[in-house]
Symmetry: C2
DNA sequence: AGCCGTTGGCTAACTGTGCTAGCTTTATGA
DNA sequence: TCATAAAGCTAGCACAGTTAGCCAACGGCT
């Protein structure tokens, strides 16, 4: 029995690719073993359990997404940066639905969890984007959460085929970006100084 | 062996409650059977399969959510209606995480699927909310998708414990509502007529 | 009341999947 | 060269979902 030359990274990467192809929910140890040319129990030499595998896939996905978004926003600012970041995230999710599903399905177990660390790193490019809008430091967390909610929501619904009708999804996405851009700029017809002015009811 | 007096509705409702308690992912036929006081195979007299059960739970959840949001927005308009709808949805998700998870995990199989129908009904109160803002009819779908994305995103991240740090989540939520409200009003510092003006790049 | 078909419960048993135990072979390096 | 660790294998357990098939309880007849 010749060796397959596997390693933890190889197995995780193969698992991520497989998840992208057949869906994260349908990913099984048996299929992954077949994919890498090995019997099922052999996988446990590289990965502790299916849960461990899933977590590693999630961490990998978050790292890759952060890298893609960081690269896309490099050298841009304001609305340009916002659009670039949003599009990069959306492209990633559409190209890697299995990887992204892994990041949704799994919760970090604690602040030391590699998933939590990778998730934090994913926030950095968004923080950079927000620096292009003049937002009070105290509101930074709120703005970050808002960005995350908005694009996470759109991406998951689209990836899940949740948008019915035939209206163009690209167009809806651009519309959403503009809505957020307008919302982030302070001036509003109400004359308030921005979203922060209506804090906690 | 005395009868337990079950019915499909009873089983589905019990499943939904159990999912809220222990998490949708951990819901098993065995536990549900135990909960309703019956042996596992007996459940199959009321439900075709676990997938069937899950779908029924999802449809139930969507119906309940639509009802809650509809009731909350009754008699309100504009920003008041927006806030009421957003809060009602968020409250529902926090109170019924298992039910909500069911609606995320499952895709409707087609436009005839009860889940798709219930999802459509959930859109109605949001449509009503949007009538309080003057949005071009052509942009209605975009606006609806935007609303869905925003609040779905926030709700899932919060329900999954995705917001790290200690910053107050309630406050972030109100901030998000205001961001959307501002974005939906046309006037913006750029002088454009609203998000629609930047259609498809 | 007493029959009888339908319904809803049960036990037994099959399948597929995650995982462990324990053996064997390959590669490595003192 | 040969001892040791790593990486593969087969066999097999446990558990969840599911099906088959049996039997008791209920409801509508006459």
């Amino acid at each position: 029995m010749p060796r397959a030359g596997l390693g933890t990274d190889t197995v995780v990467a193969a698992g991520a690719d497989l998840a992208d192809e057949i869906g994260f929910a349908g990913l099984s140890m048996g299929q992954l073993a077949q994919r890498v040319g090995v019997r099922t129990p052999s996988l446990y030499k590289h990965v502790a359990s299916q849960d461990d595998l899933n977590r590693r896939i999630a961490a990998l996905a978050l790292t890759e997404a952060a890298q893609a978004i960081g690269a896309a926003t490099q050298g841009r600012a304001g609305r340009d940066a916002l659009r670039a970041a949003a599009r990069a995230l959306r492209d990633f999710v559409l190209a890697h639905p299995g990887r992204y599903a892994a990041t949704i399905a799994l919760e970090p177990t604690g602040p030391e969890d590699p998933i939590a660390l990778a998730a934090t790193r994913l926030l950095e490019p968004f923080t950079a984007v927000l620096r292009g809008y003049d937002i009070a430091p105290a509101d930074m967390t709120h703005a970050l959460r808002a960005l995350r909610s908005v694009f996470h929501g759109f991406a998951t619904i689209e990836a899940g085929g949740g948008f019915q009708w035939s209206t163009d999804t690209d167009e809806s996405f651009e519309w959403l970006i503009d809505l957020v851009d307008h919302g982030l700029r302070h001036g509003s017809p109400t004359g308030s100084a921005g979203p922060a002015s209506r804090r906690s009811s």
